[in-house]
Amino acid sequence: MGQYFTDIYLAVSSALQGMAITFKHIYKKPVTLQFPDERQVMPERFRGFVHNDTAKCDACNICAKLCPVDCIYIETEGKAKDRYMTRYAIDYNKCIWCSLCTENCHTGSITMSHDYDHAVFDRRTLVYEFMDPREAKVPCHRATRIEQNWWVEPKEDKPGGDKGDDE
């Protein structure tokens, strides 16, 4: 019988303690953000959409090989000095934002941006083509790039690449 009343007392008192906590929260400022109006500031290392600056890219294919999900499509034509990149596309349906591509890019052309909105109506639009259609071809060989006045990476940076060290 004593247990019976103790249980009732415990039930009521613990319920009231819980209710006190929830009531206190009514007066606290909510922690959520009103998303489209307010946006979180992304930290520096945030891995958003992958961006490739095709003007810098020399189609070395390392990113495509390293990608665990094979979401990078690179097409080239020609060989050696006449090798040109004709297509560079990333399929964001597949991309898992692991940043393996960016940290092993020796030219630093492929980077992770802070952009994270990828809601679309048609999933085919998530395959991003990075080549400007007007450019049509980007030379890959260093000599050709210098010849045609494309950006080339400075020699001394070559062994390290983008290490992703402490910024």
């Binding site: 613990s14 290392r45 898992i96 940290e103 402490d166």
Partner: protein, 393 residues
Amino acid sequence: MANEPTMVNGRGWGDQDHVPGIKSELLELNMGPQHPATHGVLRLLLHTDGEIVYKVTPVLGYLHRCAEKIAEGVNYKQWVVYTDRFDYLAPMCCNHAYVTAVEKLMGQAVPERAEHIRVATSELSRIASHLIALATFGLDMGAWTPLLYCFREREEILNLLERISGGRMLYNYMIPGGVRYDVPNDNWVADVLDFVDLMEHNKLPEYNTLLSYNKIFIERTADVGIIDAKTALDYGCTGPVLRGSGVDFDCRRDDPYSVYHKFDWQVQIGHGEKGTVGDCWDRYIVRAREIEQSCRIIRQALQTLPDGPYQALALKAIVKVPAGAAYTRVESSKGELGHYIISDGGQTAFRNKVRSPSFCNLQVVEKVGVGQMVSDLVALVGSLDIVLGEIDR
């Protein structure tokens, strides 16, 4: 096991017509794969008589993604990405388990600083995972508000881990031979220590008042779904499920890896305070107390963070692994997470087997779930804290 008659309250499969003259049979009930209480795409095939469950059969495989097979096709560093997707609530622990296995195979030593960072991030991840466990367990019991409170704190952890690793949920942070990035310069360590203090002294007591010591919650969970120590050991349960049953075992202490031996903390076990040892409440409170211990570990790991390199190897795309086999286990938030790697010296693993704790923990439902009410089964599954990503892999 499957076809044996199960007797509950003196009634079983054989004598279902327990009301004379009325033909009655057990109700076959599919709980899941789309059900709010099954934490993902688990399907529990129940045979019930009213509210009483006579037989539980977990049906798995709805989230199977062939991760172990993929391991044979991608190289060692690429597969770290896949370990994130096992236990997506505590990916740091999964990363940790995998990279220790690769390092063992390579015979690679890890810098002290990297180990400290690994321990701190793993424990942060463990807190996040335990918060989800408390939250969803509360939700299974019908308490909505603790869910949102726990997620609020988890969000803080995600922000912290995002700052160090760049990913919000799937970090891909640890690599064989160290960690991918150093601790950021923007006051990260101080922020983590602040958060840990807040968590330990402010938020945990709040959850305890709101949920843990609420009488209704105790009534719902104490003496429900009792897994005794023998059953837990027989079924290979690990982690909070095993410790909730009163077995004092924790990989972090009993099979030390990384730098856990340097820190001062205690293994929490269930004592049956509100009912019997090994009931749902014990498993719940073990998690709540482990959050506190994790806070202690993080504090020590970051306060004694040594200087030095954070990677042993120059960050090369391809990791060279000699032929051989290695098994390592770590204590993830769900239990003992093991990776067994066989290498033939190539770029990819010959075979990669994962021993996932949730998979073993879930099997106990088949035995303990029998004779419970449907509501208790929900409590039992909730208290096991399973993650389907890890079960099905």
